[in-house]
């Protein structure tokens, strides 16, 4: 059978949908269909992809309105009696067709305080000590969480909020058994962690099933609250003029 695809074509100046008909094979994923269109019908159809195995996080797009990795979206999970609509993710500016400019994320990443091990510690730990940071380190940087986060998507607060991806990253560094610094000041003042009102949209789209809200953001919010809003600690800080 054939499936109809409506794919966004255009650039930062604007654009619209173009329709394509693609024969469907068993086991096919959406990225296969996009490649087939590129190969036979529109050589210049822009799409970003690398591994086609859900490991690099390059091929995120909005398939029928839902942000997902095209390489892991099977055609047999979509209603093919209707056209399949593919739009670039909406939170970042379009470069061309399905490719967006995600460079803002790379700039934010530079600001996260780096892994800072303590001096002279014995580098030994148990597997159970690293379960949590390991969950965060599974992140493939597809930026789908950034895409659906309403602080970024609806309110475009990119200047004051780093987004779920970098809250996860900061949490991963903070929970590394050998890390010796605190990132709460960064998360509060630069990261805008208070802007997250835990609607869990990020968790829902994560292709790696990272429990972004429950395991990363909420514990980090608690650490920020402990460090800055706990009256005992507040008093200590006043007295010692630290922190």
């Amino acid at each position: 059978m054939d499936a109809t695809f409506r794919i966004f074509r255009g650039n930062s100046q604007g654009g619209g949908y173009q329709e394509f008909l693609v024969p469907v094979e068993e086991g096919m994923v959406v990225l296969d269909a996009v490649h087939r269109i590129q190969e036979h019908q529109a050589n210049d159809l822009a799409v970003r992809w690398n591994c086609k195995a859900g490991k690099c996080g390059s091929c995120g797009a909005e398939v029928n309105g839902k942000p997902r990795l095209m390489c892991m979206t099977r055609m047999d999970q979509l209603p093919l009696e209707e056209p399949v609509t593919i739009h670039p993710v909406r939170t970042f500016p379009v470069i061309r067709d399905l490719v967006c400019d995600v460079s803002w994320n790379y700039e934010v990443n530079k600001r996260v305080p780096p892994f800072t091990p303590g001096e002279g510690d014995l580098w030994r730990w148990q597997q159970k000590d690293i379960e949590r940071p390991r969950e965060f380190r599974k992140c493939i940087e597809c930026f789908l969480c950034q895409t659906v986060c309403h602080v970024l998507r609806t309110h475009d607060q990119k200047s004051s909020f780093i987004g779920p991806r970098f809250l996860v990253r900061a949490a991963g560094l903070d929970m590394h058994p050998m890390d010796s610094i605190s990132r709460t000041r960064f998360l509060k003042e630069e990261g805008g962690i208070g802007l997250c009102n835990i609607t869990k949209c990020c968790t829902e789209v994560c292709p790696e099933d990272i429990h972004i809200t429950d395991d990363a953001i909420i514990p980090m919010k608690e650490r920020v609250a402990d460090d800055f809003y706990d009256p005992v600690r507040w008093l200590l800080r006043k007295i010692t003029r630290r922190g």
Binding site: E25, V47, N50, C51, A53, G54, K55, C56, R134, H176
Partner: protein, 595 residues
């Protein structure tokens, strides 16, 4: 002519996978001004696909392990065609590079006493692979990426290099284009490190990412560098064979390392019948012994499912030829009968997902179906074993694009540590070279304008060829004629086809604009891919024997006449010269280690 963005660096690193990042970090820490060029976004390089682990003789699980044992395994795995000095440096330095990665924040799995855990893998005589579940490559790449970011290294993302620039006999930079705008970009540099990875995309069935088009081999060769061992391409025995969209996708060797077994359509564990002479006595003879090994019996030998990749790939092919293939033409890989569901999900989480989501197979209950897939290039740019200098002044190479370490076959897990050991060395010696240069690097105007004309040509072409049609035919040609099992007639047919494809590549026409245009990118990559493909085919023709990953149907055995020679593929006029050269001789004390 249009405006050119221009940058000047001490060291330009082309490629931002494991080797390129490690080279850039080293060069920056030596005080060099470093520019890093990445064909994709940063952090997406093919290194993220590495699953099983990083081989290094840390001795955390088997304290008897040593660099000498790692050296011996690496040399024997490569059927002694390796550059011994590279393997020597490598085995000695790999543990230090892994520990350094941990100090930079990589979170490896642990042993019960809290050290870095190490798993068994094909061809390694001890548990030697430091691992992070089955996502070791991602952990390594992310850790290196973080280091590069903290050191403030300038990264040019989604930038494709078209040609290396020369100032007389030495390399003085590179010119390419930025995918987003299609604008041209010039890099002037005192030293250039090529870390462009492999060439799997030359084949129809491959585990390799989009970027692995083999550009680096061609760029170096066109700049005058020697290529060696181009006939040795590793076909990994376990790629997915179904459904069609994922054919070739890698199934980690970690499945077998953690107890998975290979079976044919009759349910027989056929690997017991394929133990080569060289490894007789080192592997279990019976299923009973193999089961004892799995249970941790130190006296039992490892199962033959863990033989080197070349041996396993050919065994799967042979079972198929004799009518014992699975429904989709491969073999069964069964871990469900060997390990508990919880064990499989914790040790092989991404394999579990990959099969569940892409093939509707639950690997904790059912067998996987697997078959060979083009995975890794052992051959490549000839380098000095210590400095990674190529045969061209100012040009260095590291990682998969460089040759010598792996000989005729690479052991699993040796690639990631290769990237670290030789990435660091390339960065160090490229910086030393850069520091010796006087004055600013010179970019020749004539070369620049020629490169820009070449890049624009596909838009102006009156030809009728589509870029993806030529690409598809090239990949089919290589698969069919210069694939796993080769013969003279086929390889010659392949060379003729490559020559016709070159003509077609010259007639490719590109539509659309210069902004992020994959048709244009493909059109411009075709000539480089064809150059690399030709070098592979020429070397495959010359080696009239079977050794490691190179199998010639008419010469099924290894031949002593070829046991101590490399084939060098060298640019000569418009074509190539293939020259036979002796391997560097191993000193007596080292030779003893491999006997």
């Amino acid at each position: 002519m249009e405006e050119l963005q221009s940058y000047t660096y001490d060291v330009l690193v082309i490629g931002a996978g494991g080797a390129g990042l490690r080279a850039a970090i080293e060069a920056a820490s030596q005080g060099a001004r470093v520019g890093l060029v990445s064909k994709s976004l940063l952090g997406k390089a093919h290194t993220v696909m590495a699953e099983g682990g990083i081989a290094a003789a840390l001795g955390n699980v088997h304290s008897e392990d040593s660099w000498q044992a790692h050296f011996r395994d690496t040399m024997r795995g490569g059927k002694l065609l390796n550059n011994w000095r590279m393997a020597h440096v490598y085995a000695q330095e790999a543990p230090e590079r892994v520990m350094e990665l941990e100090r930079w924040g990589a979170v490896f799995d642990r042993t019960p006493d809290g050290k870095i855990s190490q798993r068994a893998f094909g061809g390694h005589s001890y548990n030697r692979l430091a691992h992070v579940g089955d996502r070791t490559g991602l952990e390594m790449l992310r850790t290196l990426q973080d280091q590069a970011v903290y050191r403030g290294i300038e990264v040019h993302m989604e930038c494709i290099i078209h040609t290396l620039l020369r100032d007389g006999a030495r390399v003085s930079g590179a010119i390419g284009r930025l995918r987003a705008t299609g604008g041209f970009v010039l890099f002037k540099a005192r030293a250039v490190v090529l870390a462009t990875g492999g060439l799997g995309r030359l084949y129809k069935i491959t585990s390799n990412s989009w970027e692995c088009t083999g550009d680096g081999f061609a760029l170096a060769s066109l700049a005058g560098a020697d290529l060696i061992d181009m006939e040795f391409i590793q076909f990994h025995p376990t790629g997915m064979v179904w459904p069609p969209g994922v054919i070739g996708l890698l199934v980690t060797e970690g499945v077998r390392g953690d107890g998975g077994v290979l079976k044919n359509s009759r349910g027989e564990r056929f690997m017991f019948r394929y133990v080569p002479e060289m490894f007789k006595g080192e592997y279990a003879d019976t299923e009973e012994e193999a089961q004892r090994w799995l249970k941790g019996d130190g006296a039992a030998r490892r199962p033959p499912d863990l033989l080197t990749r070349d041996v396993v790939a050919k065994a799967i092919m042979q079972e198929g030829r004799e009518g014992r293939a699975t429904p989709h033409g491969g073999a069964y890989l069964d871990i469900a009968s060997q390990r508990s569901s919880d064990f499989i999900k914790s040790r092989l989480p991404s394999m579990y997902r990959q099969f569940k989501e892409l093939a509707n197979v639950d690997i904790t209950r059912e067998s996987m179906e697997v078959g060979p897939t083009c995975h890794y290039m052992m051959g490549g740019i000839r380098v000095d074993p210590e400095t990674q200098a190529t045969t061209v002044d100012g040009l260095y190479a590291a990682g998969e694009v460089a040759a010598g370490l792996h000989g005729s076959n690479r052991l699993g897990g040796n690639s990631l540590s290769d990237l670290l050991v030789f990435g660091k060395r390339a960065g160090l010696y490229a910086t030393e070279h850069a520091n010796k240069q006087r004055g600013e690097p010179v970019a020749d105007e004539a070369q620049i304008s020629q490169a820009m004309q070449e890049m624009l040509a596909p838009f102006q072409s009156s030809g009728e060829e589509g870029p993806f049609d030529v690409l598809r035919d090239l990949r089919e040609t290589m698969q069919q004629y210069v694939g796993i099992i080769r013969n003279e007639g086929d390889v010659k047919k392949g060379l003729e086809a490559i020559s016709r494809l070159k003509d077609r590549a010259g007639r490719v026409r590109v539509t659309g604009t210069r902004e992020y245009n994959p048709g244009w990118d493909t059109a411009l990559q075709l000539p480089l891919m064809l150059t690399t493909a030709e070098a592979v085919a020429l070397a495959a023709l010359e080696r009239r024997e079977s050794r490691g990953a190179h199998t010639r149907e008419e010469y099924p055995g290894s031949d002593d006449a070829f046991s101590k020679v490399n084939f060098v593929v060298r640019r000569s006029g418009e074509g190539f010269l293939v020259v036979k050269e002796p391997l560097p001789e191993m000193p007596q004390d080292i030779k003893k280690l491999v006997e």
